[in-house]
Symmetry: C2
DNA sequence: ATTGGTGCAAATCCTTTGCAATAGC
DNA sequence: GCTATTGCAAAGGATTTGCACCAAT
């Protein structure tokens, strides 16, 4: 089922699964591929719809379980931005901006410098392994509408 | 209904509501007071239970609507940490750490320096008005259990 | 007197659970 | 063959909606 093009990209998932004693299943491969194909965050539902095309029988709980696993393996970021959870396989350092008006989520490129806070967490007995920044505000369109209606 | 002690603290809410053309209701006062009394983040459900004691008939949708409004007014922070939304009226600069194991949310004192990212967002046409950092990892207890079971 | 807020009931949305069948090791 | 993973159906929990009544301005 794996094409030559995808084999290289699938490699890291296969190795991580084996290393952790998990099984390599087509659902897992297809779901990660789908997340990587779209270079943006998407919901479990969107992934489910896309995955159905290559793997018609795929069930909702499988999608959720797999997304959880991919997050655990560190291959996917989970973004909690108020609505349904978003999943993101984009690897470049970037954060997310959420519009208070329309709920849209936008990428903001740039590295997050949270070392002092991670250190503070560590000193308080917490073992951090990552951090997510959510910027909130108004997107261009919603800011414009607010101004017009005021 | 307002006691002398609370009047001072309620003042900012009353003024903000008036300024924005909203009405001053006892539900709004009581919900904000409750959030301020507990110096930690809590769920809508917890607030609801607490508010029922002084305002027995209070309905779920009222609690949600009021919390939304308080967040809009900038008096309360909303924290999306994977489970039910948390609301926090603590004013000292601090962020939150969420345990992957038990889901617990802990305060991490310290100011967040996200100016470069906020600037990047602004340059991309977004109008930021705040940012929330969620640190993820394992709390002391869960980290211990993982080690034991390994 | 107006109309924004509230309470109630019910709906909706997202996510998880329980269990039998399947497929990876 | 053993057991993790899957699919299916259904439950569960959080939040929102629609509408009638109430109460702040």
């Amino acid at each position: 089922m794996a094409t030559a093009m995808n084999t290289i990209r699938d490699q890291d998932l296969v190795e991580l699964l084996r290393a952790r004693g998990h099984r390599v299943t087509s659902q897992r491969l297809v779901i990660l591929r789908e997340l990587r194909r779209r270079a943006t965050h998407c919901t479990a539902e969107e992934i489910h719809a896309a995955v159905r095309e290559s793997l018609p029988g795929t069930a909702t709980p499988t999608v959720y379980a797999t997304l959880d696993l991919l997050v655990d393996l560190g291959l996917v970021r989970r973004i909690d931005a108020g609505g349904p959870a978003l999943y993101d396989a984009r690897v470049e350092p970037h954060q997310h901006a959420v519009c208070r008006g329309c709920g849209g989520v936008y990428d903001v490129d740039g590295r997050l410098h949270a070392e002092p806070l991670l250190r503070a967490a560590r000193e308080a007995g917490f073992n951090p392994d990552g951090a997510e920044l959510i910027i909130s505000g108004l997107c261009e369109r919603c800011a414009g509408q607010t101004r017009e209606s005021a």
